[in-house]
């Protein structure tokens, strides 16, 4: 029956005799056995926050906190500032550096991003040639390019999930999969997910939509657009920078006579490294990974610690990436939008989404929620639009039921919040509470509500998520994962949200604010202090580095 199948599928058949071949768990097993444990698909690669050795690092490409990236960036930094006033050399250099950075994951996908760039730029220029009066021609081009962009995303990201779901559904209906179907499943399982595809696809889509709407004129140069789309600090895990923010900066390179905000850049980079290598890795190893790997074998207190650990881990991990990306861009003279703003200090779910992954939530608002009708069509339509936006936002994170439920959870929370606000006659514009205890209680309430959603986000399957919820209710056994160090790491993860605008930042920035004769001394002092702090961070963190969680999206 399966003579021509690959080794992995044959093994699956040997361990699972034919009578069960049409059962959904068997199909998942076939799919997983083919797709392996690298980032080939979302089912197998979920949330591996394992700290890997530098030898593993190759598989995860050029990560920020690695020696290879340090060599890459230091070389680029000098070349960039040497050539920045000669755009004919500087622009190709920046593009080559970005493609080299991306090629470290898988060099074949450089061609994908190059084709993506050319087609999106061509579509934008083609739309711009038609006057707004000829909206049908513009619309045809927009639809074609959006179909291409979404098709690329669907092929790499959702093909496995959709095929598996379809075959499972047929199996449940009594139509067992035949050889061809299983071979299709095997082929789909071999599709490698290009890292960061969701981010650069969304950037490309926002560009063509802005051009279609007339909000933005396309750049004349393909090289500028290629640099915008592939700019390495934000290429693989955001923030999703809009063309109108970054493309003009690519067209008019930074000037050498302008001061460079090195103090803020180094503060962001060092803070990001601390969050990622010390706090996020520690919380992953000591709390989140053990509990989420076997949720049924832990007690309620441990499960609570696990989800707290994951909530702070994902914040420290993702905001660290954004901070480092913003800092690196600043060192090269570019400005990125902020992506996090103390999300767990939110006083409502709506407030949370104004503070968490801001570039994604604003993208969803501008290109999905508002085109769906936003809040213009009455209360019911608003509820529907909010729910759909977050449902699709969940799907953006990954192809899986748990992500869909995570999105639906947030969508329903927003709907519920809006409904209750309407019921009690409160308005969004009403001032938030300012008294201490109401603020603390609301923050804790929102934090724990968000924590419930993280359980779906982090669990590999719905069965695991349900087991996790069962563990949360079992308070008959004491916590085994608690220790003073764990408490300290949780507190540090929470308090790191205070970092922006603190005295520490002001003190650090003041190092660079010396009068002119002492500018060299100030910069050297800051360089020396940065090296010492970097050494402390490296010593505090574990050996090797875990890939950033958002790389898989």
């Amino acid at each position: 029956m399966n003579r021509n199948f690959g080794t992995a599928t044959s093994l699956a058949f040997e361990t699972h005799p034919n009578p069960h071949v049409n059962s959904p768990p068997f199909l998942i097993q076939v799919y997983q056995s083919v797709s392996g444990h690298d980032n080939r698909n979302i089912l197998a690669s979920r949330q591996s926050s394992r700290v890997c050795s530098p030898a593993d690092g190759w598989r995860h490409g050029m990560l920020f906190p690695t020696t290879i990236f340090a060599i890459f960036f230091a070389t680029l930094f000098y070349l960039h500032w040497a050539l920045v006033e000669r755009p004919r050399l500087w622009k190709p250099l920046l593009l080559a550096a970005s493609y080299l950075f991306y090629g470290f994951w898988n060099w074949k996908f450089i061609f994908l991003i190059a084709i993506f760039t050319v087609l999106n730029h061509w579509a934008a220029c083609a739309m711009d040639r038609y006057p707004p009066a000829q909206s049908s021609a513009r619309k045809r081009i927009l639809v074609a390019i959006l179909l291409f962009d979404l098709g690329i995303l669907a092929f790499f990201k959702y093909a496995g999930f959709l095929t598996l779901t379809a075959i499972q559904a047929l199996a449940v209906l009594g139509l067992p999969p035949d050889d061809t179907t299983l071979r299709l499943l095997e082929a789909v399982g071999r599709i490698v997910l290009p890292v960061g595809i969701s981010f650069f696809t969304f950037q490309g889509m926002s560009y063509v939509i802005d051009v279609y709407r007339g909000d933005f004129r396309p750049g004349r140069s393909l090289l500028d657009f290629a640099n915008y789309l592939a700019f390495f600090p934000q290429l693989v895990a955001g923030p999703i920078v809009r063309a109108r923010d970054l493309l003009p900066q690519m067209e008019h390179p930074p000037r050498r006579d302008r001061p460079l905000d090195t103090s803020r850049a180094s503060f962001l980079i060092l803070a990001g490294l601390f969050k990622k290598t010390v706090i996020a890795n520690f919380l992953a190893e000591r709390l989140a990974d053990p509990v989420f790997a076997h949720p049924a074998s832990f007690s309620g207190p441990d499960a609570l610690l696990g989800v707290w650990g994951y909530a702070l881990q994902i914040y420290c991990d993702f905001s660290a990436y954004s901070d480092i990306a913003i800092g690196l861009a600043l060192l090269l003279g570019f400005h990125f939008p902020i992506n996090f703003n103390a999300p767990y200090f939110a006083l409502s779910i709506r407030d949370f989404w104004h503070r968490w992954h801001i570039s994604l939530s604003t993208w969803l608002r501008d290109y999905l929620y508002i085109p769906l009708g936003g809040s213009r069509g009455g209360e019911r339509q608003t509820y529907r639009n909010q729910f759909l936006t977050f449902l699709l936002g969940g799907l953006w994170h990954g192809a899986g039921w748990t992500f869909l439920i995570w999105g639906a959870f947030h969508g329903l929370s927003l709907v519920l919040e809006r409904f209750l606000a309407r019921l009690f006659g409160t308005r969004e514009s009403d001032p938030p509470p300012t008294r201490f205890w109401p603020v603390v209680l609301r923050r804790l309430g929102v934090f724990h509500w968000v924590c419930l959603s993280w359980i779906f986000f982090r669990c590999v399957s719905l069965t695991d998520a349900l087991a996790y919820f069962r563990s949360l209710t079992d308070w008959s056994r004491p916590a085994t994962l608690w220790s003073p160090t764990v408490g300290l790491a949780l507190a540090a993860g929470w308090c790191l949200q205070y970092l922006d605008g603190t005295r520490a930042e002001r003190l650090w920035v003041s190092l660079a604010c010396y009068p002119k004769p002492l500018q060299y001394a100030g910069a050297l002092l800051q360089g020396a202090a940065s090296a010492a702090i970097l050494t402390v961070i490296l010593a505090m963190g574990p050996r090797g580095v875990a890939p950033f969680i958002y790389f898989q999206f």
């Binding site: 460079l260 103090s263 660079a512 060299y520 490296l538 010593a539 050996r543």
Partner: protein, 122 residues
């Protein structure tokens, strides 16, 4: 449409705050030199793990026959040997300046799992 921007950064840039390029380059250079000297010995100790040598299978295209796989050969990167060789003088400089002790003390303080000096590669 409301826009989220790098408000602090742009305000600071607008106010002309920051470091001129000359001092910034000097500070960055000092940072690189000091970071290498402080971590040089640790880098050398871990060099046998860096920078990720992975055998690369290079295939000649196209294959003339579908029955046989196309001819290929495996290329092994010399990066590991180069990393060990290049980081050796760095470790020596780190020891000569005494800056390696700072990292060693920190390692002892935080009880990290940084490995002992690796055996020489085969």
């Amino acid at each position: 449409m409301a826009r989220w921007r790098d408000e602090i950064g742009e305000r600071r840039a607008g106010e002309g705050k920051g470091t001129p390029l000359g001092p910034a380059l000097a500070g960055f250079s000092l940072f690189c030199i000091l970071a290498l000297l402080l971590n040089g010995e640790s880098l050398h100790q871990n060099a046998h793990l860096l920078p990720y040598p992975r055998p690369v299978v290079i295939t000649w295209l196209p294959s003339l026959s579908w029955r046989q796989p196309p001819p290929s050969f495996v290329w092994r990167s010399p990066a590991r040997a180069m990393a060990i060789r290049l980081s050796a003088p760095l470790a020596a400089a780190s020891r000569a300046t005494g800056l390696n002790r700072f990292r060693a003390r920190l390692d002892a303080l935080f009880h990290t799992d940084n490995p002992q000096p690796a055996p020489p590669p085969p």
